[in-house]
């Protein structure tokens, strides 16, 4: 099931490598003590270092180094015990010193790999070329004044990890799977929040095309600053189609930097190689080489959280889940945590079915996230308990769940302060209380079931005759009728048992 694009001259293969800029989770910037919180008033999180005042010097933030090494370990990558910071020189008003401190020749993390899952369920390894630390630039605001550009330096100097993949990706789907997997690993590690809307994760997409079976790579173009996984996937296809068009018209693709216009679904040229800056990289003389102790790296490694691949394997092994269900449940650390809270001491498959089924559907319907769910893991677990101990049956459980969700939403909508929401939620959305309140307790009283069964048999003599003459399929009809008569509250096993006894 290889992805291919058909051109006039035949079938083309797409070759993609991704450079992801992931903002490091840390309280202060890479080389200054200024804060990094998102959404602060412009220029309120700027130190003299960030603004490049004369005589100011960078001091490396140890936390950022730790985050980069943890990420490297999470990508199964080589950690370089000696790395170096270089200056990338260019003039722009949102780059106060006139250079960005980055790691050019000697990055902190070397080769690694990520396993991605393709749409058909097969897996594939995508190589990681390197990961390096660098500073973000500030923000230029061109739309605040008719003739002026405003500069916000809050972001200037914030630590980024640039994570570069090998050109191993061969389709938009693989590009999407790679980005999702990378984001998942970053979130598991707590090294980047992966929030593409806020710009804390951005991707540069390198695309080239070649004929199937062709050796080597053709000229690639870099599509800069794509800010969603969906756009990255679209950009791959759009850029590949453009390049095929160029090659097939007898011309050659020029190496250049391009932008993805998500509105029109096309890429357009930003600057060509000839216009490219000469960044004049050289080692930053204000900083010494970064030297890491093996013992320190080992310690970080020992305290690394369980990552998605390991967790998935464990879920399959310990909980007997299918690869698919396990994959869905581990994709986000918070989902896995939710699942394990529900599954603890309960039927793990039942928990998985409920979370991937009704619970996800409820998230989607209410527009909530797993971090802020309408029903907490504890409450969902209690609902499952009511089913297992036969207080309610599965059908009623779904109804009770709907009630829980709807009440949570209405409480939330009327709650004045959101931080009290969880407390309110936990107290009022009690599944056992709802069952009692609505009188949904399962009927296990055999007398009541006997009576209902007798009534249905008496009302349908022709169906009874058909059944007895061998039309087994009619059994379901009788079950349905009895359940209906008992408002769905009857214990299904008892109903089955009684019906079987009476009908045969």
């Amino acid at each position: 099931m290889e992805y291919a694009l058909e051109g006039r001259t035949g079938s083309w293969e797409v070759v993609v490598g991704l450079e992801v800029h992931a903002q490091v989770i840390s309280r202060s910037k890479l080389f200054s003590g200024a804060a990094t919180a998102f959404g602060a008033e412009p220029n309120t999180q700027v130190s003299f270092v960030d603004a490049a005042f004369p005589g100011m010097l960078p001091v490396l933030n140890r936390v950022c180094v730790e985050q980069a090494v943890k990420t490297g370990l999470g990508l199964n990558a080589a950690i370089n015990k000696v790395s170096r910071f270089d200056r990338k020189n260019y003039f722009y008003p949102d780059l106060p010193p006139g250079y960005q401190i980055s790691q050019y020749e000697h990055p902190i993390v070397g080769k690694g790999e990520i396993e991605i899952e393709r749409a058909d369920g097969s897996t594939k390894l995508v190589g990681i070329t390197r990961l390096h630390l660098e500073q973000d630039a500030g923000k230029s605001l061109h739309d605040q004044h008719p003739t002026k550009t405003f500069i916000d330096l809050n972001r200037a100097g914030v630590a980024l990890m640039e994570i570069v993949s090998e050109p191993d990706i061969r389709s938009p789907d693989e590009a999407g799977a790679y980005l999702r997997k990378l984001r998942s690993i970053l979130r598991y590690l707590g090294t980047c929040d992966g929030n593409m809307e806020e710009g804390s994760m951005r991707a540069d997409v390198n695309v080239s095309v070649r004929k199937h079976g062709e050796d080597g790579y053709r000229t690639r173009c870099e599509v800069k600053n794509v800010n969603s996984i969906r756009f990255a996937m679209q950009a791959v296809e759009a850029e590949a189609l453009r390049q095929i068009e160029v090659w097939e018209s007898g011309e050659a693709v020029r190496q250049e930097t391009r932008l993805f216009d998500s509105g029109r679904g096309v890429t357009r040229a930003m600057r060509s190689k000839e216009e490219a800056h000469d960044y004049r990289y050289f080692p930053d003389p204000d900083l010494l080489p970064l030297v890491l102790e093996q013992a320190w790296i080992d310690d970080l490694k020992a305290h690394l959280p369980e990552l998605p691949d390991a967790k998935k394997a464990r879920f399959m092994r310990d909980y007997g889940l299918s690869a698919y269900d396990a994959g869905v449940l581990v994709a986000e650390r918070t989902t896995a945590l939710f699942y394990e809270t529900v599954a603890k001491g309960r039927d793990p498959k039942l928990a998985a079915n409920w979370i991937t089924g009704d619970f996800f559907a409820a998230l989607k319907r209410t527009g909530r996230t797993i971090e802020n769910p309408p029903v907490t893991a504890e409450r969902l677990g209690q609902l499952l308990d009511l089913m297992v101990d036969n207080t309610i049956n599965g059908k009623i459980a779904k109804d009770v769940f709907e009630v829980m969700v709807n009440r949570a939403v209405s409480i939330h909508d009327s709650a004045s302060a959101t931080d009290t929401f969880d407390a309110v939620l936990t107290q009022t959305i009690d599944p056992a209380a709802i069952v009692d309140e609505l009188g949904l307790r399962q009927v296990t009283d055999t007398g009541a079931i006997d009576a209902a069964v007798d009534k249905i048999i008496a009302a349908n003599p022709d169906k009874v005759a058909e059944f007895r003459s061998g039309k087994d399929k009619l059994f379901g009809f009788f079950v349905g009728q009895v359940m209906k008569a008992m408002q769905g509250k009857a214990n299904p096993a008892l109903v089955n048992e009684t019906l079987k006894r009476r009908l045969t």
Binding site: P54, V59, F91, F282
Partner: protein, 492 residues
């Protein structure tokens, strides 16, 4: 005269209440009023602030405070950022710039009770060996040629203002920075002691950067002991400078008393240049003889890569400068020239704000870092720098210190050596290697040339062994008995 006192004498006199800190400071302020209009050593004088600091020092002295620099008036090179006090780096592009912070080195001096008289003139962004590249006009060396007393001589550079101020008794001591010789060469030209400590000994935080891997803050004084007192205050580990060394600051003043008997002093044969006056060669031999008489063993040594020092320096320093000076773009502080668009704003601001020498070095530095030239220039220069450092490491396995001339000439006149930049760069021939290697070095006045101008001898020592540096420098000072005075000086 109060202005003739050394720092050590001033310190003792203050403690013994022979005079007050206010009197000491006012004596210097009056001297500045009298002579600075001619010398142009100070770019700004903080009269009120200095008197206020002196008054506070008097109160502290009365309370028995014994901080090492309490009440001592100093001159501060205008490359050090001083909180609330205009800082220019000798450039138009930082006009106006008033730093909201105090450099670590000047903060250390203030912590120890120093009084700041003002900010001193310098070559623009410390790029020069004559103080002629200052946007605020040249500095006059207070020393005069016997035969030609009307000739205006340069004080050397880039820390020419501090050197002239200390020589003319307009301050008891001063700060400088040495990137290629900017403390030692002006010290030699002005008959002073100038010390460039080990790289990492004094924090660069708050010092306007020229070439980060080469910039060394250090002191000027009229005696070795005074320089030791000042360095003891300026030095120390600073977590705000990643290249600052986390090593203890020993008692440099005490080290000046150390005997040098048994020390091995190397005399490197490569420290000679074409056209170097015979009297410098003679002084060098004399210096070696003085040290031998004091009990040291003189050893002929070789630092074979010395001849590449200047070329290496004039690649690395401009390369770093081209990047360090990119921040002067007219956007956030200092000069801004209006432009048609962003690029035009940059070009006009930097063309108007930087002088010719700074522009030249930015262009050289940009060139040597450019794609296609990086390997041939910058990378090769870094390799040669490593060889120069290896020369020192090897020679310091055999000797404890090195003795050389400080500069290949005495002070020259305004207008001389200014035909082309290379002639000027040759001034740094003997001082540049210690900057490239980061080893500590000092210039000590050794004697006068035939014109009556001071000549300095340079001592170099192992990294972080300033104690040996001071011991050898003090031995030279004792033997030389240098007592000549500049023509232009307070009360002179």
């Amino acid at each position: 005269m109060l202005t003739d006192l050394t720092i050590a004498e001033g310190r003792d006199g203050l403690r013994e209440r022979k005079f007050t800190a206010v009197e000491l400071t006012l004596a210097h302020l009056h001297a500045i009023e009298a002579l600075n209009p001619r010398l142009n050593a100070y770019l700004s004088v903080g009269h009120a602030q200095a008197v206020e600091q002196a008054r506070a020092a008097d109160v502290a002295l009365a309370g028995g405070d014994t901080r090492p620099l309490l009440g001592i008036p100093l001159a501060i090179k205008d490359l050090f950022c001083t909180a609330g006090v205009r800082t220019t780096a000798g450039s138009r592009i930082l006009m106006p710039f008033i730093p909201p912070y105090e450099s670590t080195v000047t903060a250390n001096l203030l912590r120890d009770g120093a009084v700041f008289l003002g900010k001193t003139n310098m070559d623009e962004f410390a790029m020069g060996s004559s103080n002629m590249t200052s946007h605020y006009g040249p500095v006059e060396n207070p020393w005069k040629r016997r035969q030609d007393p009307t000739a205006v001589l340069v004080p050397g550079g880039s820390s020419g203002g501090s050197a002239a101020a200390v020589a003319a008794r307009l301050a008891m001591g001063g700060t400088g920075t040495d990137t290629g010789g900017s403390i030692r060469q002006p010290a030699s030209f002005c008959g002073l002691v100038g010390v460039k400590p080990t790289y990492g000994r004094c924090s660069r935080w708050g010092v306007v950067a020229f070439a980060s891997s080469l910039d060394h803050p250090g002191p000027f004084a009229r005696t070795v002991r005074d320089a030791a007192i000042l360095l003891g205050s300026m030095a120390g580990h600073d977590p705000k400078d990643s290249t600052s060394a986390d090593v203890l600051v020993p008692d440099f003043e005490a080290a000046c008393q150390r005997p040098i008997k048994g020390l091995r002093i190397g005399v490197p044969k490569e420290y000679r240049s074409d056209g170097m006056p015979g009297e410098i060669e003679t002084l060098w031999r004399q210096g070696a003889a003085w040290l031998r008489e004091a009990g040291a063993e003189i050893v002929d040594v070789s630092l074979p890569h010395t001849k590449y020092g200047l070329a290496t320096y004039y690649i690395i320093a401009p390369a770093e400068a081209s990047s360090n000076l990119a921040r002067y773009d007219g956007v956030r502080f200092g000069l801004r020239e209006k432009g048609e668009d962003l690029r035009d704003l940059y070009e006009r601001t930097r063309a108007e704000g930087f002088g010719a020498e700074v522009r030249r070095r930015i262009m050289i530095g940009t060139y040597v870092l450019s794609a296609g030239y990086y390997d041939a220039y910058y990378l090769r220069a870094q390799k040669v720098r490593a060889l120069i450092l290896r020369d020192f490491t090897e020679v310091f396995a055999k000797v404890d210190a090195l003795l050389t001339p400080t500069a290949p000439s005495a002070a020259f006149a305004h207008g001389e050596k200014m035909d082309d930049p290379i002639t000027m760069y040759l001034n740094d021939l003997f001082t540049v290697p210690a900057d490239l290697a980061g080893v500590p070095a000092a210039s000590v006045p050794g004697g006068l040339d035939a014109d009556g101008l001071p000549l300095g001898l340079q001592v170099m020592a192992r990294p972080f062994d300033e104690e040996t540096l001071f011991a050898v420098a003090a031995a030279l000072e004792r033997a030389a008995g240098f007592s000549a005075l500049p023509t232009l000086r307070a009360g002179g």
